[in-house]
Subunit: 145 residues, 2 copies
DNA sequence: GCGAGTTGCTCAGTGCACTGACTATTTCTT
DNA sequence: AAGAAATAGTCAGTGCACTGAGCAACTCGC
């Protein structure tokens, strides 16, 4: 009675999309390293020696979520967390050699997975999908500032 | 070094989209009832007296996730969980009057929120976005069966 | 009708993700 | 230079989401 069709609700679809992605990720990319963890490794591969705050902005994650994530990656020896001598509040982050190696391995596997994931769409549709999601996400993030 | 552009990665975008949605949801729809909880209420409004397994298929959630969710909604008095006398394994679920009332209230607020969320897109783009996400999600779910 | 397999649910464990409160450090103001 | 404000990080609490193990109840094959 008065129920709604969830397939027209972007939030519900977003959750399903992410869920489907996670599933494919664990089978095709890695069982140990998750997609958000890869995002962190990737950000540090591009910009080493940043603090957790800056990192959280790069990967669009909350600072307490980042703290957890970084702790896990640190425990696995993939990154180093050092107190900044110039500013005692900051933890400066850097990939270890092992972390860089893991990142390199994941880059190719991730590319392969993305192909499979987007296989149902043709080239133009893929671009459209990524562009539209990006616009909606950007706009919603603006609302917060 | 050899870092990748995450804005071309559907998984990362999906996470950002869902994150942006959750944020808007808590400000525009409800602080108590989450989007997945609404999905459950909505499914039960449409089809009462189903068990958790069937429900989990309707809303695309895992059985153990559903168990948690249903327990929370039950604690708040929004639904009833009764052992099926015909089949002692099943919990039969049904909205309470209060649950139905909460659902009704959320339907209109959710519609309003979806408009704001998709405001950056024109009508054609909205349809396209929802359709493309749906196709990718459906296809990925097929891979599991 | 009985054992084997299937099905529905629960529970423990792990990880993502947020808020709100707190601590420590730095910077700004006067 | 001292107090106020801002900043970086941690911690507790809640909720979503999955896997894998286990239990109870039902169904099927013979």
């Amino acid at each position: 009675m008065a129920a709604v069709d969830l397939s027209t609700h972007p939030g519900h679809l977003a959750r399903r999309l992410q869920q489907a992605h996670t599933l494919l990720w664990t089978t095709m990319v890695s069982e140990e390293t998750t997609s958000p963890q890869f995002a962190v490794l990737n950000a540090l591969a591009e910009k080493p020696d940043i603090d957790q705050r800056t990192l959280s902005e790069h990967v669009h994650l909350d600072r307490s979520t980042i703290a957890d994530l970084v702790a896990r990656l640190g425990r696995r020896g993939l990154l180093e967390r050092v107190r900044d001598p110039r500013d005692g509040r900051r933890n400066v982050l850097k990939l270890t050699d092992q972390g860089a190696a893991v990142h390199r391995g994941l880059v190719t596997r991730t590319a392969r997975m993305n192909k499979v994931f987007l296989a149902p769409l043709d080239e133009e549709e893929r671009e459209t999908l990524l562009r539209l999601i990006g616009r909606v996400a950007d706009a919603a993030e603006e609302l917060r500032g």
